[in-house]
């Protein structure tokens, strides 16, 4: 299982890569593996302001559906449109081409509540 060190993680298995006041968000390798064949992805509109912990979309596989939650709050600046047409990319490249949205971060301090890769690895091992 891949757990890159340059991103932070939530207990709902989203990851976030923070660069300046921009953050990129997706779901972890653990999450895509648990969901299995992903067939559908629903993402918010650009411009939507969503708080930390609130749902920003839905990901669906043949057997399961899961809400996607904001690792930190902010305003959506970019949505990965090609991913909506080929959501299976999330299974093959969850941290790369499988990114979902980019946001303008509202309050960078919110990131303090997230797990780093070591903490997330321990969290996954416990499940």
């Amino acid at each position: 299982m891949k757990i890159p060190t340059d991103v932070k993680y939530t207990k709902n298995d989203e990851w976030v890569r923070i660069e300046g006041d921009t953050a990129t968000i997706g779901i972890s390798d653990f999450a895509q593996d648990a969901l299995n064949d992903i067939v559908y992805l629903e993402l918010p509109d650009v411009g939507a302001a969503i708080e930390q912990g609130k749902a920003f979309g839905v990901v669906e596989s043949v057997k399961a559906a899961s809400d996607l939650y904001m690792p930190i709050g902010g305003t959506v600046t970019e949505v990965n449109k090609p991913l909506v047409d080929e959501p299976e990319t999330i299974n093959t490249d969850p941290y790369g081409k499988g990114w979902m949205i980019k946001i303008k971060v509202k309050n960078a301090a919110e990131a303090d509540s997230l797990m780093d890769s070591a903490a997330y690895e321990a969290f996954c091992a416990d499940r």
């Binding site: 064949d37 067939v39 559908y40 669906e60 596989s61 043949v62």
Partner: protein
């Protein structure tokens, strides 16, 4: 074991036994059901450039020819009126087939189904018992089938009397004095129950109750119902014995709890050992108790939920009272309540609106809405056709027959349980109700799952148990035999389950590639979800 042994064993018809007719417990490997010739088991791979997939039976649309008519209708016997030309539609894209084509098509389709009338169907929590033929006849009597729902009370006395009596009998069986048979299915009965609990609190000015407690073994409909009614579902864990964890319950009970939904026996098939304490705890914090009656086949004549202290429950007439499942419905989900909730029942309810003048006369029945009703859940008065069937079923059984249903349903389930406890892990292995749950996997063959066992059972001529439910048991297989199966059938099933347990270790591919004798092999569900072909007709341009 020789063939002379009378003990029932799991075998398939002779033509499906791969020529090994001298042994009895041979495993099925060849199709027992006709499949198109080109799809034989030797042709397991798709050609490189896949042509149009073969079909078991063409779609009804593909059988037609332009201009063909299936039904002759009478000629117009009144003068023609003007049709408003600019309001009319263009082509109507329906099939053009003869009556014989329709009959053959649907008979062929029916033959692709498994059904209770064909064989053993131990689908847990669904109560797949025999559906008596008489029920189908009574529901189709012209006086019922052709009765308009908005008939004046005076013209519907037969139907209303039947509904009134059915309400009474259901109340007697469950210990609830007030029953509404309006809900169309179990899920709607649940919804009605939770809406009543909501209204009860609101009418008392108690607005802070926002939570409904649900054990983690609950049916999926329970949490969905709670959300629909505007409440939040709070999950409670089970203790080591499969009962509600009393400590967790105690901690969760406060003045924000509107009520608790619980299935009895629970979805492990076990009667809650501390049911009276559970009810007391919830009542003490001001909450009401809802019983999911899906498992009523384990309780009739054994205990009345109303007497245990429950405030409301729903019944599934299509489970316990054998109105058929119809390949997914229609059902019927009456609710029974105590005095507290009676004013809130969904309506309309059949009631006596004028007592009989003399003992020889019948009273006048009518339909009434309870004073503070949560409202109407569907148009008209419930799935009346299902009421007729349930009435017929209760009437023919009578008090002793109803008791015998539960006793034999529980006997059958326990008989299978003790016979499988060697080959399978049975969590919480104690006397069960009308069903029990086992784990469909073994540590020494980790890549065999409950699903594989289920599919392999099809090759032995059985419908699989419920898979992967309840969620709290890994690789769950939930087995509910019902009372209408005889010992020989159960023995054959037990033998098949044991055989499959052996195959899992000796030849696991038999399980992984099962079923081989069903009309189709395993399906590509990913393709179905990805391509979403939900309709075989193109949308005409004018409609875009």
């Amino acid at each position: 074991m020789s063939k002379k042994n009378k003990k029932p064993t799991a075998t398939l018809p002779a033509d499906a036994t791969n020529g090994a007719a001298t042994t009895v417990v041979e495993s099925p490997t060849e199709p027992a059901v006709e499949v198109p010739p080109a799809a034989s088991s030797t042709d397991a791979t798709l050609p490189a450039k896949a042509p149009a997939p073969q079909v078991l039976e063409p779609l009804i649309y593909d059988l037609g020819s332009p201009g063909r008519v299936g039904v002759l209708l009478p000629a117009l016997d009144v003068p023609e009126a003007d049709l408003p030309k600019d309001l009319l539609r263009g082509d109507l894209d329906l099939p053009e087939v003869s009556e014989l084509q329709v009959v053959r098509h649907f008979v062929k389709l029916s033959q692709l189904n498994f059904a209770i009338d064909k064989g053993f169907y131990p689908l847990g929590s669904c109560t797949m018992k025999y559906n008596p033929k008489l029920n189908e006849d009574t529901a189709r009597l012209p006086g019922f089938a052709h009765l308009h729902p908005l008939t004046d009370d005076e013209g519907a006395q037969g139907a209303l009397a039947l509904m009134h009596q059915l309400q009474g009998w259901l109340g007697e069986i469950s210990g609830f004095r007030h029953v509404s048979i309006a809900p169309a299915a179990g899920a709607q009965g649940e919804f009605a129950g939770i809406l009543m609990i909501r209204k009860y609190h609101l009418e008392r000015g108690d607005t802070k109750r926002t939570k409904i407690l649900i054990p983690n073994s609950a049916h999926g409909t329970n949490p969905a119902t709670v959300t629909m009614a505007g409440f939040t579902a709070v999950e409670l864990p089970a203790d080591v014995d499969g009962n509600v964890d009393l400590e967790a319950l105690r901690a969760a009970c406060d003045d924000t709890v509107a009520g608790m939904m619980i299935t009895v026996p629970n979805t492990l098939g076990l009667f809650e050992a501390h049911i009276l304490e559970v009810i007391q705890l919830v009542h003490d914090c001001g909450g009401l108790m809802y019983m999911d009656g899906a498992n009523m086949n384990a309780l009739m004549g054994v205990v009345k939920p109303g007497e245990l202290g429950f405030d409301v429950m729903h019944y599934n007439l299509h489970k316990t009272f054998s109105t058929p499942h119809g390949g997914g419905g229609p059902g019927s989900g009456p609710v029974g309540v105590n005095e507290k909730l009676a004013p809130y029942l969904p309506g309309p309810i059949a009631a006596i609106i004028e007592e009989a003048a003399t003992p020889e006369d019948a009273p006048l029945y009518g339909l009434v809405m309870p004073e503070k009703s949560i409202g109407r859940l569907k148009a008209f008065h419930g799935n009346f056709g299902m009421h007729v069937r349930a009435y017929t079923y209760i009437r023919i059984h009578g008090a002793s027959g109803i008791q015998n249903i539960t006793r034999h349903a529980v006997l059958n389930a326990n008989y299978i349980r003790v016979n499988l406890q060697g080959e399978y892990t049975i969590p919480h292995n104690r006397y069960c109700g009308h069903e029990f749950v086992l784990e469909g996997h073994w540590e020494d063959v980790p890549d065999i799952h409950a699903l594989d066992i289920s599919k392999r059972l099809m090759d032995y001529g059985f419908h699989p148990p419920t898979n992967y439910f309840p969620l709290i048991v890994p690789e769950a297989l939930m087995i509910e035999p019902t009372e209408t199966e005889d010992k020989a059938t159960l023995d054959t099933f037990i033998s098949a389950m044991k055989q499959i347990a052996a195959e899992a270790k000796s030849d696991p591919d038999l399980l992984r590639t099962a079923p081989r004798t069903a009309p189709v092999t395993r399906l590509d569900e990913k393709r179905a979800a990805k391509e979403l072909v939900l309709c075989c007709r193109p949308i005409p341009e004018w409609a875009e």
